[in-house]
């Protein structure tokens, strides 16, 4: 079995004094899969991503990432294997220049200077932002910030990518660039999002969460055709899915 997998078993997590944010969550995501994590605000998507990145630790259950269990001891290793792209790029970018920002992760990994420079250039090339290398991070546009945030994670050459609302606050052009970038990734990807049009294009599989529990795990298409479930998760059927469903209904009708 490839090492680029995520397996969780009976995961539970509660915030101090609060209700369970994650409640008995189990799933297996295999190598190269692009899985959408969908659900209403406060459903537990971001918390789950943080657990997968060893930024928080589950109170019950286990997370196995490529044969390594997530614990405080393995956290540093897990964070190298699993890259996390945060919802708000402004929170992710903290170094003065783009090159410093992208080099931050590889330097912390203890890589030699030449390798850090190679990875920085490679990551910038992957997101098509080579020309921004010496720019000041705070002067970038929203779309550029998102690309640099992705590049800063790609430079660590993670096996798995976690993305929290990657398309939020992006204009349609930047959003399209982002979708094309994600399409080109061969990584195992977990994308927490409300952007179901993006899910329709990128993720054949979806996991829907409601009140910290998994309420659906299967083909995205199935979820998008299930209006009751969409309502339960405060989601809206994507336009493309609506057309597809109408076409299929039309086909069945004409066949009859």
């Amino acid at each position: 079995m490839s090492h680029h997998y995520i397996k969780t078993e009976n995961l539970e997590y509660s915030y101090y004094g609060g209700a369970k944010a994650i409640d008995d969550i189990s799933f297996l995501i295999t190598h190269g899969e692009k899985v959408a994590l969908v659900g209403a605000n406060g459903a537990g998507k971001s918390t789950l991503l943080m657990l997968l990145n060893a930024l928080k630790f589950a109170q019950k259950g286990t997370i196995d990432i490529g044969n390594t269990f997530v614990t405080e001891k393995t956290a540093k290793f897990i964070r190298q294997k699993v890259g996390f792209i945060f919802q708000n790029s402004d929170n992710q970018l903290f170094m003065p220049t783009v090159s410093d920002e992208i080099a931050f992760g590889p330097i912390n990994m203890g890589l030699p200077k030449e390798e850090v420079e190679r990875r920085t250039d490679m990551a910038l090339q992957r997101v098509g932002c080579e020309s921004l290398k010496n720019n000041i991070t705070s002067h970038l546009s929203g779309g550029q910030k998102r690309s640099i945030a992705i590049a800063s994670v790609l430079a660590m050459e993670p096996e798995i990518l976690l993305m929290d609302e990657p398309s939020s606050n992006l204009d349609p052009f930047s959003r399209r660039l982002l979708i094309n970038q994600i399409k080109s990734f061969t990584h195992t990807c977990v994308i927490a999002t409300h952007d179901l049009e993006m899910v329709w294009e990128l993720c054949p599989r979806s996991i829907a969460i409601s009140n910290g529990k998994i309420v659906f795990d299967g083909l995205s298409k199935e979820l998008f055709y299930n209006q009751e479930l969409l309502n339960e998760c405060h989601l809206e059927q994507p336009y493309l899915a609506k057309i597809e469903q109408m076409k299929e209904a039309e086909k069945i009708r004409s066949a009859n």
Partner: protein, 265 residues
């Protein structure tokens, strides 16, 4: 609100402008710190009544502001409140020390007034020198320089975090002010009770954003030490810069330009 936006962009601009200014003078921040420290130390070793020998230091600082392209008016604007503090330190000297020091055609200047002007001038020189150091090096490279000079890492990291999170705090404050204005219907004064709510909200929001920034740093291997490769290595030019600067400082301190010129003629 415009003021707050300006402050945020000016703090952000420290690094940007320093990159522009610094690229012209490739001098290691550590050597800049050493020179700045020696410069100020040599000035402070003069007597508090010696205003004549303090003037050359002021001239050097003015020349430096021209060299690194920082308008003096900008420095004055930034330091006016700090200088007010210096003013209060020196304000009582003319009243407490009335011994006559200089008699210019019957116009007597007391030791108190001499020390008053010297303290003000020294204060202005010190603050301007520190501003030049920060604005021409950038805050982060300066912290790197401090690390090189073996200043405790704990202190340097604290400074780096204050610099990072002050922007977060100000951005959150700007948001709160915006939302208060949007629903304040032109009202500018709010009861104290409401202000306490604003401040509590500000702290909670800042903490929450700071937590996310911290998570994003940890996710990329941050272990309490911000490492970069872009820091300058100590080069021969730094040694030359230090030697030349120390010679100039030595001349200012021991040969005293005005005494030197007076002896020449």
């Amino acid at each position: 609100m415009e003021n707050l936006d300006r402050v945020i962009s000016e703090i952000r601009g420290i690094e940007t402008d320093a990159i522009d200014r610094g690229s012209r003078y490739r001098i290691n921040p550590a050597s800049r710190i050493i020179v700045c420290f020696l410069f100020l130390l040599s000035m402070l070793t003069f007597s508090v009544f010696n205003i004549i020998d303090t003037i050359p230091y002021a001239i050097i600082v003015i020349l430096l502001t021209l060299l690194v392209n920082i308008p003096l008016s900008y420095i004055f604007r930034k330091t006016k409140y700090l200088l007010l503090f210096v003013f209060f330190i020196a304000a009582f000297n003319p009243l407490l020390d009335r011994r006559p020091a200089i008699n210019i055609n019957g116009f007597i200047i007391s030791y108190g007034w001499l020390s008053f002007f010297t303290i003000i001038l020294r204060g202005y020189i010190s603050v301007t020198a520190a501003m030049i150091l920060i604005l021409s090096s950038g805050f982060i490279p300066l912290c790197r320089g401090m690390e090189k000079l073996k200043i405790p890492k704990l202190l340097v990291t604290q400074l780096l975090f204050v610099y990072r999170y002050i922007i977060v705090l100000l951005e959150e404050l700007a948001q709160i002010i915006n939302s208060v204005k949007a629903r304040g219907y032109g009202k500018n004064k709010f009861p104290v009770k409401l202000w306490s709510v604003f401040i509590a909200q500000l702290l909670i929001k800042t903490y929450s954003r700071a937590e996310m920034i911290n998570y994003s740093m940890i996710a990329r291997g941050y272990d309490g030490d911000i490492k970069t490769f872009s820091e300058n290595k100590w080069q021969r030019s730094d040694t030359v810069f230090c030697i030349v600067s120390i010679l100039i400082i030595g001349f200012l301190r021991f040969f005293r330009p005005f005494v030197f010129i007076n002896n020449m003629f």
